[in-house]
Every structure is written in C-alpha cells, then in structure tokens.
Symmetry: C2
Subunit: 324 residues, 2 copies
Amino acid sequence: MSSILQLQEILETAIKNLKFPENPKQLYDPITYIINLGGKRIRPLLVLMSAELFSKNPNDAIHAAMAVEVFHNFTLVHDDIMDNAPLRRGKATVHEKWSTNTAILSGDVMMVEANKNLAKVNPVYLKDVLDTFNATAQGVCEGQQLDMEFENRDDVSIEEYINMIRLKTAVLLAGALKLGAIIAEASEKDADLIYQFGENIGIAFQLQDDILDVYADPEKFGKQVGGDIIANKKTFLLLKAFELAETENLQSLQTWTGYQEFDAKEKVEAIKQVYDVLDIQNIAKETLDNYLNKALSYMAQINATNEAKANILDLTKQLMARQY
Amino acid sequence: MSSILQLQEILETAIKNLKFPENPKQLYDPITYIINLGGKRIRPLLVLMSAELFSKNPNDAIHAAMAVEVFHNFTLVHDDIMDNAPLRRGKATVHEKWSTNTAILSGDVMMVEANKNLAKVNPVYLKDVLDTFNATAQGVCEGQQLDMEFENRDDVSIEEYINMIRLKTAVLLAGALKLGAIIAEASEKDADLIYQFGENIGIAFQLQDDILDVYADPEKFGKQVGGDIIANKKTFLLLKAFELAETENLQSLQTWTGYQEFDAKEKVEAIKQVYDVLDIQNIAKETLDNYLNKALSYMAQINATNEAKANILDLTKQLMARQY
C-alpha cells in the first residue's frame, strides 16, 4: 500500500509532466498558471486511492486522475468568472490576470485537455470511464447553476441546498473515486458503494466548511472568520436559522441580512448570536455526522480489507479534522 | 446511396430526439434554443456522408454526428459572448437573451452533452473517435483565440490568416468527415485523405465568404454587403490589399480603416476601389481555386467509386455556388 505522501508525489510528477502546446500562448499560459497555483489535489488523489483500494497499481489510474484535476481547474476558471472573484488561492484569477474572453476560451480548451487525458485510459474501460466522467461533469455544471440561482432566491430549502452542494462539490469527489474503481475492475456494486461514500463525504466536507466559516479558530483559519455571514451566503447555517427563527430572532436575521451597509464585526456577532440561541452549530454538526456515518456505512459494505481501506479513511479523517 | 434530403431528414429527427434534462431550466433551455435556431447542419451531414462514402449505413454514425452538431453549437454560444454579438441567425444570442453567466455555463454543459453523444459510438472505434474529436475541438479553440488576437494586430500575414481560418472553420469540417470514415472502418489512409479534403474545402468556403461579403449580389445576399469592410475585419481581401498596396492605394486603405466615424457606403466604395485596382477579387478567387483543387485531388485519391463520392461532391458544389 502506498503512503498518501507517495501518491502525492506520483501526482505532482504527473502534473509537472502535463504537456500543453506552446502556442497560442494566451490560450495555454493560463492553464499552466491555474494548475500550478497548487491546491491539495484531493480529487486526483481519490482516483489513485480508489484504484489501490481495489488492488490496482495507482499508476494505472494516472490519466483518469489528471483528467479529473484538469477538469476541476477548468471549473475553477469558469466559476471565478461567474462569481466575479478577483482572487484564487491568494493569486489573481485567470479573468483578472488576462481577460474574461481568455478565461472562457482557456477554460474550454482545458475541458478538451481533460478529455484527452481520459482518452488515454485502457480502451477496455473507456466507455465506463467516459460515462462516469460525463455524468460527473454534468452534475458539477448543474450545481454551479443552482448555486448562482440561489443567490437571487429567498425560499431555498435545506433539501435544495444539500442537493446543490451534492452536485457542486460532492459529485466530483464521488466520480473521482468511481473512476479509480472502474479502472481497478471493481465490481459494479463496489464501484457504486465507493461513489455513495464519496457523495456523502463530500456533503459532510461542505457542511464542515459552512461551520468553520463561523466557528473556526481565527488564529488557525486561513481566511476571515464570518466571511459567509458578511456576504449573506446561503449556507446550511443561515438557511437553518431562517427555518427555525421566530419573532425577534427572525427579525434580527432579516434586519442584518437586509443591510446594504454595516459594520462587519457587528453583523457577524449579531447573526452568530441568533445561531447560538437556535443551537445552529450543533444542528449542523449532527447533520454533518449523519452524512459522515452514512459514508462510513457505505465504505463498510465494500468488499476489501480494512488495511486496503485505511488510506481513504485516513485522508477523510485528516480532512474532517481541519480547523484552519 | 441516400439522397442529401434523406440524410437531412435523419439529422432533423435525431436533433429533435436529443434529450436534455428539464432542470435547472436556466441551464438547459438555452441548449434547446440555440440548437433549434436551425442552420444548414453541414457538419453532422458530413459525418453521415463520409460514413456512407465508406459503405456504412449513415444511421450508424448518428451519435458522432450529434456530438459534432452539439459541439458546433457550443462554440457558437461561447464565440458570441467573446465577439459581443447581439444576434445569431437573426435571433438574440444566448448571452443577450439570458446572461453571460448562463451562456458560459450552458456552453460548458453542451460540451459535456457532445461528449455524452460521442461515448455512445461503438466501443470498437471509441478511442479513435475521441482522439479525432478532441484534436478537432482543440483546433477550433486555437482558431478562435487567433481570430481574437488578430483583431488587435496590424501585422497579420496571409499565411497566418489561412492558418487561423483552417483552425477556426476548416478543422471541424475535416474532423466531421474523418469521424464518419473511422466509424465506417475506412483505412487510415482514406481517413486522412478525407480529412485533408475537408480542411482544404473548409479554407475554400471561408475564402468564398470573404469574397461574397464584398462582391455578392445584394439582392440575394442574406446580410449587408461590405459588412467586413465596415468592421475592418481582417479578411483575405483586406490583408492581401495591404500586402500589395503602395503609395495612394496604401494611403487610402490606411485612411479608411483608421476612421472612427464614416459613411458606411462611402467606405465600402473606397476600399472596393482599391481592391479593384489591385485585382484583389481575382487573386482571392485564384487562391480559393487552389484550395478547391487541392481538396478535389485528395478526394480523387480516396479508394471509393465515383458514385459513392457523388454526395459529398454535390454538397461541395452547392456550397461553393451560393451567392446569397
């Protein structure tokens, strides 16, 4: 069994070896730029880990892993345009550094590059790999669409929110795991189980992000605590609070989310106070635990040794334990 | 041998049967909208015709044909954003009718839909089909990038221009033909020959577009004669004129292309006068004929009967004869 570190080294080498044409420079430079901004490479790591879980040499899944990583970076480039985001990992986003047109077109060609990597997998699994990848890509697009629509809606239910984060975040983790399983010739049942594991873990990750935004240790948190509150982001916490709040708590939520101008610290404190009264943090943690436990029960049903499962479970624990 | 009309009917039925999810509506409605704006369906027609040229039932190539048509429409949606175009086939473009974000994301999901259609081809050819499709898609993106860059450059050579239209226009026609050939199990040599035929025909088509913009019969031409001149579009004609012009002709080109405000009719007349002095129309026609003849010589080398080749050659003639 490879260590996580070994798998990460395989990935970094493969990423370094990704070759794009030199010209037109304006088209290809942004690809190298965004991919080299770094990131934890969780998604391609899951492809390799899943292949190894089902007794395949992780190197055999490297093309699928690269396809997933390039696709993920493509979604970042296009999402950043749509979200009007100036920064990505502390650096200028592609549309800021070059232009919106460049970001659109470089993104498009990244999608093609992802597909080129995919076409390199063993033809024996190619059809299955494509079907899983395309269904995943489609889900991610749908998730982004719903996320944008939710910004302009005041009646988003918790159920809708969970479905949105499932599509926007969880489906790609699940798809990555399933790709590894397909390439490792896992049974259809096991490939579906690892997909379900990934989907539920992905939802748990996003719920943790929602919680950390408000309750992280500011010393360890990489960004501003309360950022979601300041931006009126419809997180699980805010939606749940709106669902449960009555009278003065509801009033407070409505007032603070209605302000065009406000003192950020005051707003975070006020909304947090409502959260505390309504026990939102615990409700969110319970919901997170439900998804986590569901994920683990899917994993338990997978036909593999505990030793083989250790890597994915360790990574999951690491990611669920982060406080920063 | 099917008639062109029969093949078009197969295509229209298949296009009508393309199924997209219903929700999110904002994501999928633009796809149905753009695909149903019509168009001559040349590219998918070429897939079917090429399959039939190499003795395959055209129905066997329908998924690849749909992939090509959906991909083509995806490029229209994204190109229209980048070109800031308000109209497409006389109707509002997707980014105008919905929004830029919707046009970006619907375009992205169209690329996925194209790939989903592609994944339906017989697994026996899947790898070859993907490789040809991806190389084609990449070329189209590169062509659009070059086209955008040329707008801001004053030193575009004829050679660069031909390479740009090759990528932006010709490669997709060539790729469509090659896909049909692969699915029909044509020899590698014949698949390459039909690709070369398509590339040269595609360049000839674009040169014809450039010529028609200036010299079309205004009664039969669907759009404003001289539109390229008015917009300072770097067509073959304008680039050639700049290459050949000296003294007062060069002066006239520089003056008229330099004006921010001008009478459109006067500008068209003035530039046309320079074209006439320099014999630009004939030079363009000779260049077009060279590409056309090159295309026909590739076709002549293909191992198939003249009867089998008749459909593609008829379509080519029809398209080269259009005056509107």
